[in-house]
């Protein structure tokens, strides 16, 4: 009998622990996290549901997004809430899974009966999540789904429910390519490599940049798409190094991808004169902590926001963030601002429509109204792209994340060119 007892005890314990941990780990089931403050009125709170990648491949971004949402909830509640109602945030963990994110929004809408939904992290997860919201007549305000494929889905073309407060990513490299083209012929790179992760976010801006730079006479010596989220990027990175390209335009989605390329380049004693990545270097201390502050020098990345932005709302948010989480301004992940901006746009829509009726919010956001956010003005086209978003190019210089392009724009400093050698 003893072995049976032992077996059942062991398996029972294993199953229980697994089930319990699955809830807060990668299992993908719900992990409710309320960020409410004590209710100061008798009115029912406005409950906002979202699914975030708190574990898995996008966990760095997911946690940064959670901080941005929570910061906005805290600020809005401290100011008396919306329409006299406090705001509550309900967060489920999707473990970076496009399947789990669908289940999560189904649960938030059908079981938890939230009033509004906010978007998850990444275009890859936003696309299926927005379809769930569309099916239920919900507006889907999001900050990290800027890939063209997010807007052109049949669901969005029918429901017009997606609203991306950040910049559409397709043209985010344009200020960079304009700058390269403006360089004197003697300084302009002659060759370029375009390695791209297989991801709806990573490829389009790099492909646009490649087309523009080729037209400007920059010869393509490497242009290939590699699988995203594989454990081994070394072969692809080594092939780029072997090409000897003077400029690398990397279609990346996260820090580990950029870090893997940087590490392989250093091992191969290869320093491109210009190195820009679609994402990764914009993740503050998560980036410098992985690649090292010295190696980060000269790395470029496009985005709509940076911690030193002169935008008054942004400065207020940065101050609030540092007071709550500590660190330095350059260490703040750009995802925080994207999430905070989602909350701001939702707040303006709720105030303008006098409630949380999703159909009214959708109509209002498509009305042509110009809204404000920490990332700058927001105005949506018929598919929910932010027409007012301004794209900047940022660079790591001496441990600081600074705006460098467009050259001459308010806040831009001189770009470091060529990229300094690897520091380690």
């Amino acid at each position: 009998m003893r072995p049976h007892h032992a077996r059942f005890l062991s398996l029972g314990a294993a199953a229980c622990v697994a089930a319990a941990l699955a809830g807060c780990s990668s299992g993908g089931s719900s992990n409710s996290s309320s960020s409410s403050t004590p209710t100061t009125s008798t009115k029912a709170p406005i409950v906002i549901g979202t699914s975030l990648s708190l574990t898995g491949d996008f966990s760095t971004d997911g946690v940064a997004f959670q901080k941005g949402y929570q910061l906005w909830v805290r600020d809005v509640n401290a100011a008396g809430g919306l329409l006299g109602r406090q705001v509550q945030l309900k967060v489920l963990n999707d473990a970076s899974s496009p399947t789990q994110v669908v289940s999560n929004y189904d649960k938030l809408i059908s079981t938890d009966h939230v009033d509004l939904t906010f978007g998850p992290f990444s275009s890859k997860l936003t696309t299926p999540a927005a379809a769930v919201a569309a099916r239920n007549g919900f507006a889907f305000i999001e900050g990290a789904g800027g890939a063209p494929s997010v807007f052109t889905t049949p669901a969005n073309q029918a429901a017009h429910n997606v609203f991306d407060v950040s910049l559409p990513i397709q043209d985010e490299m344009v200020p960079f390519t304009d700058w390269v083209k403006s360089l004197p012929a003697s300084q302009r790179p002659k060759t370029a490599a375009y390695p791209m992760a297989q991801d709806p976010f990573a490829d389009p801006p790099v492909q646009v940049a490649q087309t523009m730079l080729q037209a400007a006479g920059v010869r393509t010596v490497y242009s290939k798409i590699f699988p995203a989220e594989v454990p081994n990027y070394t072969p692809a990175a080594d092939n780029v190094a072997t090409s000897g390209a003077q400029m690398v335009v990397l279609g990346s989605t996260d820090v580990p991808t950029v870090s893997a390329f940087m590490k392989a380049f250093e091992q191969q004693h290869y320093v491109p004169k210009i190195f820009i990545a679609a994402a990764g270097p914009d993740q503050g201390s998560a980036f410098t902590g992985t690649v090292g502050t010295g190696n980060a020098a000269g790395m470029l990345v496009p985005n709509a926001w940076y911690p030193g932005s002169p935008n008054a709302q942004s400065q207020k948010m940065v101050t609030a963030y540092l007071a709550k989480y500590g660190g330095t301004p350059s260490g703040i992940n750009a995802d925080v601002a994207e999430a905070y901006a989602v909350g701001q746009v939702a707040a303006q829509a709720i105030q303008a429509t006098g409630g949380t009726v999703n159909s009214k919010i959708i109509s209002y956001l498509h009305s042509g109204a110009t809204l404000s956010s920490v990332q700058g003005p927001v105005k949506f086209d018929s598919l929910g792209r932010n027409l007012q978003a301004t794209v900047f190019i940022f660079q790591w210089q001496n441990g600081k994340f600074v705006q460098v392009l467009p050259a001459g724009a308010a806040g831009s400093v001189k770009i470091v060119n060529p990229k300094p050698a690897w520091a380690s």
């Binding site: 398996l11 294993a14 708190l54 970076s96 594989v230 454990p231 092939n239 590490k263 998560a286």
Partner: protein, 293 residues
């Protein structure tokens, strides 16, 4: 093109060493216990995090740190076997062990998230980013050291299995547990120690993986496990040398395909498995052969 091909082969061989370090423990455990340790990927990540903690907090060199992480992982392995695997009996033992190992993976992952957070980490040392110039190629020291360690480890494990009394007990247990009991071998003890050794050698794989990758987080093990399983199946379940040979073969195939079409590089990893198993169902060094050695 020849240069690229040679470079790809060199990359494949050196990268294969890293994968062998991660896979030998998995195949050893299967060979002795008939347990597919689905938690192996997370064990690799755990090994990397332990090395990271020693490096960051005690400023211990990554290889010196193995003197601490290998014994620590051995103890963790013995405890896991005692608590989760040993109680399993009966015909469903192998399938139930999958569930138990999955639970172990989730527990370890949860602890790592709690202890280290979601941000990715990478292991740093001068030899991680530096390389030696040989015949026109830059060979990263970390890969060279990793490959040398993989070969040394395989030799050491062979020595343990074929030159020691304990190894004889292991091989007897591999062939027939009941017969092993009858001749006085403490099968439970052998199983616990073998599981411990299998997890302990993974500490070395975790360290090198953490140093060669762009960054890992507690969830990174799930991207690894399917590849490690493919390696040990191709090498022949239970064959330690087979794990090394299969790692080199698959990583080389992947690196060569990567020259032309990187999107197919992952697929070729598994396509190679299917092709080899079609002609040699027991893998490169099949189980019967492995046990007969």
């Amino acid at each position: 093109m020849t240069t690229k091909l040679v470079h790809a082969v060199v990359n494949g061989v050196l990268g294969g060493g890293v994968y062998a370090l991660m896979a030998v423990g998995l195949t050893l455990i299967f060979g002795v216990l008939d347990v597919i340790n689905i938690a192996q990927g997370v064990m690799v990540v755990l090994g990397a995090y332990l090395s990271y903690a020693l490096s960051v907090h005690l400023h211990l060199d990554l290889f010196l740190g193995l003197l601490l992480t290998v014994p620590a992982m051995f103890i963790i392995g013995v405890v896991i076997q005692w608590a989760f695997i040993r109680p399993l009996r009966g015909r469903e033992r192998t399938s139930m062990s999958l569930l138990a190992c999955y639970a172990v993976a989730i527990i370890i992952e949860g602890i790592l998230y709690w202890a280290f957070g979601p941000n990715s980490i990478t292991l740093k040392a001068s030899y991680v980013t530096s390389s030696v110039h040989v015949f026109g190629f830059y060979l990263p020291y970390i890969y060279l050291y990793g490959f040398a360690m993989a070969v040394a480890l395989v030799v050491a494990l062979y020595g343990l299995l074929y030159r020691t009394l304990f190894g004889r007990s292991i091989r007897a247990t591999m062939q027939d547990q009941t017969a092993a009991r009858l001749i006085g071998i403490n099968v439970n003890r052998v199983a616990a120690l073998t599981f411990g050794i299998g997890v302990a050698v993974t500490a070395a794989g975790g360290m090198v993986f953490g140093a060669t990758s762009g960054g890992i987080n507690p969830n990174s093990g799930y991207d690894l496990i399917s590849r490690l399983l493919a390696v040990i199946i191709l090498g022949g379940l239970g064959s330690i040398g087979g794990a090394l040979a299969a790692s080199v073969f698959m990583l080389t195939a992947e690196a060569i395909v990567d020259i032309w079409q990187p999107t197919w590089s992952v697929a070729v990893f598994y396509a190679a498995l299917v092709v080899v198993l079609t002609f040699r169902p027991r893998g490169l060094f099949g189980r019967q052969e492995a046990r007969a050695q």
